[in-house]
């Protein structure tokens, strides 16, 4: 098992984001963070808004994953995300602005659906801001 690898595919509606062999992937599901090693039991789970850490040997890559789901097989992980970005693809200013907007909207409470939406927007912005720190 020592140097076995698993194929990780991250696909968004707009593009094939990532398609390489990896040693381990850690991502956030709606039930908490989850690390997947090669040879994992078949599992399908829903992703939350968060960061995925991809380990390839000594290297570790990070990217945002905005919603979606993962299908895990012993030899491959397929992640279908609504959106995914590398740290250098994140527009910091836009994320800041989105964060402020969402916070303002949460401050004035209106219909329930708007709150859910604003919370999701806030979460997205926070995750993007968190990840954008790693570029420096």
């Amino acid at each position: 098992m020592a140097n076995k690898k698993t194929l990780l595919k991250i696909i968004t509606p707009e593009k094939n984001f990532f398609d390489e062999e990896v040693d381990m992937a850690i991502f956030r599901t709606i039930e908490g963070d989850m690390g997947v090693l090669p040879g994992h039991t078949p599992l399908t789970t829903i992703l939350s808004i968060g960061i995925i850490k991809i380990k390839q040997g000594e290297q570790e890559k990070k990217a945002t994953l905005i919603g979606g789901f993962a299908e895990i097989q012993p030899d491959r992980i397929t992640i279908l995300a609504d959106a995914a970005e590398w740290p250098d693809e994140i527009d910091k200013e836009r994320a800041e602005a989105a964060k402020r907007r969402a916070e303002e909207r949460l401050a004035i409470k209106t219909a329930d659906i708007n709150i859910a939406r604003a919370e999701a927007a806030l979460k997205r912005a926070l995750v993007r801001l968190e990840l954008s720190q790693y570029t420096d």
Binding site: I11, T12, P13, E14, K15, N16, T29, I30, E31, T41, P42, L43, T44, T45, I46, G68, F69, E71, Q73, T78, L80, D82
Partner: protein, 288 residues
């Protein structure tokens, strides 16, 4: 016979029309190439979503879920995807007519239409159908977020019981010269869409977190959104393809008309010269 000047003027006007159609053809060729690239990149996403649903369906028999349940159909909503602009041959008309044919089987009062593209909106508005919502300006360059927005609004209608079935009407892109309008039922989800693949797949014991229902709850809206998105992309490619063919034949026709007119022009010119010579010869003859 028209005078030489008239013919010349017509040649000029047809010529400038053909220049426009030629330019439009070039523009739509470029746009179509982009749309085709988009089509290639969205297919894997769609296929995997579909496969996942298939495998959930096959491994968990007798699953009950509001999206899959057949209920008595009273209200229906149609999502019709056409373009904002005309000059695309039969593209808009074909897709709207297919939708109309299907609608005419039901009661007009139980039907609502969600349109993408100005041409579709005008078509159904003119015929007195109720427009639930219409989207303008996104048919040429659809985004996934647009598809999500549409999916969210129809899902809500469906869960609240305001509509009982949802149809999607759009044009599939077969090739540059062939586009085919199709009608597809989105909700309740058609089980037969998933059966073919599930047979090929070997059954693995899959764990679903938090539960098969929970995963379906999440994935089916994604599936619907990806179907809508895929349809929008296909329609965008088809629109450009249709426009390209239409403009190509318009340019061809213009060329034919110009050839024809040039022939007439030359004949008129020759007739004028012949007449002049006859007059001169006649005049000289008379002087003798």
């Amino acid at each position: 016979m028209a005078s030489m000047r008239d013919i010349k003027r017509r040649i000029k006007s047809v010529n400038s029309t053909s220049q426009i159609t030629k330019a439009m053809k070039l523009v739509s060729t470029v746009k179509m190439q982009k749309a085709r690239r988009d089509l290639e990149t969205t297919r894997p996403f769609f296929n995997i979503v579909q496969n996942t649903i298939s495998s959930i369906m096959s491994s968990t028999k007798g699953i009950s879920h509001p999206y899959l349940e057949q209920r008595e159909i009273k209200k229906t909503i149609y999502i019709v995807i056409a373009s904002d602009r005309g000059l695309a041959g039969g593209y808009n008309n074909n897709v709207c007519k297919l939708a109309l044919e299907h609608m005419e089987k039901g009661n007009k009062n139980d039907i609502e239409v969600l349109t993408i593209g100005r041409k579709a909106r005008d078509f159904f508005d003119r015929r007195g159908y109720k427009i639930y919502n219409s989207y303008l300006g996104l048919s040429e360059n659809p985004q996934y977020s647009n598809a999500r927005e549409i999916e969210e609004s129809i899902m809500q209608l469906y869960l609240e019981g305001k509509v009982d079935s949802v149809y999607l009407v759009y044009t599939t892109f077969k090739s540059t010269i062939e586009q085919k309008p199709v009608l597809k039922r989105l909700l309740p989800v058609d089980n037969s869409d998933f059966k073919d693949e599930s047979k090929e797949q070997k059954r693995t014991l899959m764990i679903y977190e938090p539960s098969p229902e929970g995963v379906l709850d999440y994935i089916i809206p994604r599936y619907i959104a990806s179907v809508i998105y895929g349809a929008m992309i296909e329609a965008a490619a088809s629109e450009q393809g249709a426009r390209m063919t239409a403009m190509d034949s318009a340019t061809e026709n213009a060329k034919e008309i110009i050839d024809d007119l040039t022939l007439h022009y030359n004949r008129a010119r020759q007739a004028a010269i012949t007449q002049e010579i006859t007059e001169i010869v006649g005049g000289a003859e008379a002087l003798k």
